[in-house]
Amino acid sequence: MSLFRAASHQNSDLSKLDGKKISLDNTLTILSFVILIIVVVIPMTMIVYNTFFFKGKLDTRLFNEIIANPENISAMRNTIIVAFWVTLFGTIIGVFFAWLLGRSDIPLKGMMRSMFTIPYMFPPFFGAMAWDLLLSPRGGYFNKWFMNLTGMKTAPININSLGGIIFVETSYYFPFVFMQVVSALERMDPTLEESARIAGAGQGYVIRKITLPLVRPAISAGAFLILISSLSHFGVPSILGFSQNIFTLPTKIYQLISRASGEFQGIREGAALSVLLVIVVMLALILQKIVLKSGRYDIIKGKSMRPMLIKLRKAKYPLLILSFASLFVIVVVPLVMIFLVGLLKAYGLSLTPNNFTFNNYKNVLFESKMVKDSIFNSLFLSISAGLICMFLGVMVAYVINKIKPYGKGLLEIISVLPYSIPGMVLAIGVILAWSGAFGINLYNTIWIILIAYIARYLAFSMKSASASLQQVHYSLEEAARSCGASHMQSLTDVTVPLIRPAMVSGFFLIFLPAMRELTTSVLLYGPFTRTLGVAIYSLKTDGNLVQASALASFTILLIIVCNALVRFITKDRKGV
């Protein structure tokens, strides 16, 4: 009874307020647009502007020069060659192992499966470092050993080549296809295959004509992930290619920018080249849209079913040995190599226990200020980028999914755009936008890296929050409103608690990759703002291989601990 009277007394006040007070919905919408414009739109625009305009006038000379430069043309050719072969090999390997684990009766599946996802956790440039230590033509341990053994004068395997780059990238990117296809195979209705067998089709025929076509959408989705990641990949080609003057577009951009050492002309050149890279990636994205649109099958169900397992019979143990051999090469060798070299007194000494020491660890972890700074910086950046993106992602997802203002499609595109844009390009945009162009100079500070991280990772938390918000029906919030909760209270009492698991996982989706980020920070770091990835990279390029390895080992341990932590936390909350 009292409620109504209270309402009626406030009638006049509320009517005055209405239309003048900006509602919560409008505030959130405007805020989302403003933040995304600052973080995403301005840097992107700055790249295009600086490429095609000079001193306020349209000037395509720079872009034409950059395109015509033979060095850049060869970089572009290398980029495409590497991406093509990595995609091809990665897809074949991914599909093969996915089928082996998803559909055959090969033993030790659980163990192999978790091992196959290990490359997923580590930055590929760790692998490149490890293989460089083993197979570089002059100092590589394997090459030296083999040359001693056979008396050959030249190294048998040269990892510092396009082939080497393709090999290392493949070993880190095939899990994209592997994981997509394995989950598709597991969700596929097994009766589709069984009915083919009953109809008289042989084993091989079923695989070719039934199984593969059914998982084709998953295969192409994974393959395009590989293609796009590989096109904009920086770490591996920079570690393996620089010494032999093999450049891809991302490494060429890096070279231009770092050679410029802050000079505007060099940054402009980098920007122009990055426009070229964006064009290549966009072409791949368009192709992806076209391919993924066609050929969706509805027979892959959400439920998991017990699939029909194919008996490998005689092929079982050869295939098992092959799998373990591949796992050994892809996963174990690089990891062991990094750990062992991290223990060495000096690079080049033989890998025997009397040459081992913990000094490198002591040096990097306790004595080097640069490394200590970098650990602190990476922690600070990952945690703050994770937290900011978590809240920002929820806000943007809320605006897109619940408020649905005019231009929500645009908002969605802006927020996921940086996900497809190479990190290198994003970094240049951030430099162009926030080193004085608008009166704010953040260059060489940690804040410029933070802005780049936020732009780069926002899509992760936004997507995670979006998926979760779509499950929260309108009526849950409305029920709170009609129970007397204000709009803000309905958010804090109902919506936010319901999507909390997605927020937590959104945080870790950002925290983990940000901890080992290299591509973006390598262009943005200043004297005191190295990140962990940059610190390892600089140690390695300075030739301090043992300390680089020690720090990399430490990072690997850190990542493993964090991953275990995430698993523990997310497992705990599954019931919510």
């Binding site: 109504f4 509320l14 009517s15 309108y474 709170a480 007397g484 319901l498």
Partner: protein
């Protein structure tokens, strides 16, 4: 004990018009049934009343206080309107226990603690959910969740409660019980209740008055269940209330004929209720068609179905198949009717409606 008044309400979703110029009064202390087929805008209208969507035109009054007005730019937020709502999908918060769900509205209204305890316990008792206080909604069946939602609505307002298809998920027995329960609660507290449903039978049992909405969102008729049953305003209402037969009628030289391929004369005088100068259709309930040996109107029983307490006969009259229902008891004490029999028919309470294309359902 609130009254509600809608004035000239028009609601659009984007460019699509849902409700046009609707006006309606809901009196204090009544159970008003808002009935119409799915998708006719019942829920939309109620969401406007709750303050979740803004009508394009019109005013909404609660107890003579303006809570929404387009012209005067008044829009009281939902939490200040003090309406208890049971949502179609229950909207029981999955992260809160049954008890936390039920006490939430009272906490927001700053009800004293011991009062909260008392009212929540009482409300749970009324919906027969005592003992489930610590349960999480995921541990409850659909029907139980619905009852939690009802309890939550009961404690959140003693002025006006809106029930949006609140008992559709309960089994038949429990549904009967809940109908009685809702009536008892209403009598005891005197809360005004708006009851939304597409199920006319429940509405007729439960509601003091019923508003019937057409599929396009217009309000056709408001009245007591009796009024609506006895004097349906148009063909739509007549169909909506129960099973019907429609027979096209034509008038020729002062006689009236069933127009069923053959023209069968049935009256020399203008039938009561006949709409002169319009194309007419006769509406008649299956129970209002009698087997009458003396009638000149003859039909042939195509088939019959025994349904326990009643027989359903499908009788061919010209090209039209009529449905006729007879009480099993009456049939047992009279003559037997078999498939293929020719029977005389008389028509007890015919209604006449204009025969329009759109109205033919």
């Amino acid at each position: 004990m609130a009254s509600v008044k809608f004035e000239n309400i028009t609601i659009n979703y984007g460019k699509k018009n849902i409700i046009k110029n609707l006006s309606m009064d809901i009196r204090e202390n009544e159970i008003m049934g808002l009935v119409g087929p799915s998708g006719c805008g019942k829920t939309t209208l109620i969401r406007a009343l709750c303050g979740f969507i803004k009508p394009v035109t019109g005013n909404i009054y609660l107890n003579d206080h303006l809570v929404y007005s387009q012209e005067k730019r008044i829009n009281i937020p939902p939490e200040k309107r003090g309406i208890g709502v049971v949502f179609q999908d229950y909207a029981v918060w999955p992260h809160l226990s049954v008890w936390e769900n039920v006490v939430y509205p009272m906490k927001k209204h700053k009800v004293p603690k011991d009062e909260i305890q008392k009212r929540a316990t009482y409300a749970l008792e009324q919906v027969r959910m005592t003992g489930y206080e610590r349960h999480m909604p995921s541990q409850l069946s659909g029907g139980q969740q619905q009852r939690v939602a009802i309890a939550r609505a009961l404690v959140s307002s003693d002025e006006l409660i809106i029930l949006d298809e609140p008992i559709t998920n309960l089994d038949a027995k429990l549904r009967e019980k809940m109908i009685i329960e809702i009536q008892m609660i209403q009598k005891k507290i005197g809360t005004t209740i708006i009851y939304i449903t597409h199920d006319q039978e429940t509405a007729l049992k439960l509601c003091n008055r019923i508003s019937i909405m057409e599929p396009d969102g217009t309000l056709v008729q408001i009245g007591t269940g009796e009024e609506i049953t006895k004097t349906p305003k148009n063909r739509f209402v007549f169909t909506f209330i129960g099973v019907t037969n429609f027979i096209p009628i034509i008038e020729k030289n002062g006689s009236w004929y069933f127009n069923v391929d053959d023209e069968i004369e049935f009256s020399h005088n203008m039938p009561a209720g006949y709409l002169k100068g319009k194309k007419n259709v006769m509406g008649i309930r299956p129970t209002d068609i009698m087997f009458d040996e003396s009638s000149k109107i003859k039909g042939k029983i195509a088939h019959s179905v025994f349904l326990g307490d009643q027989y359903d006969y499908f009788v061919q009259l010209g090209s039209k198949e009529l449905r006729i229902q007879r009480n099993s008891f009456d049939i047992a004490s009279g003559r037997e009717y078999n498939e293929g029999d020719i029977v005389g028919l008389s028509f007890l309470h015919p209604y006449y409606f204009e025969d329009t294309k759109e109205a033919s359902l």
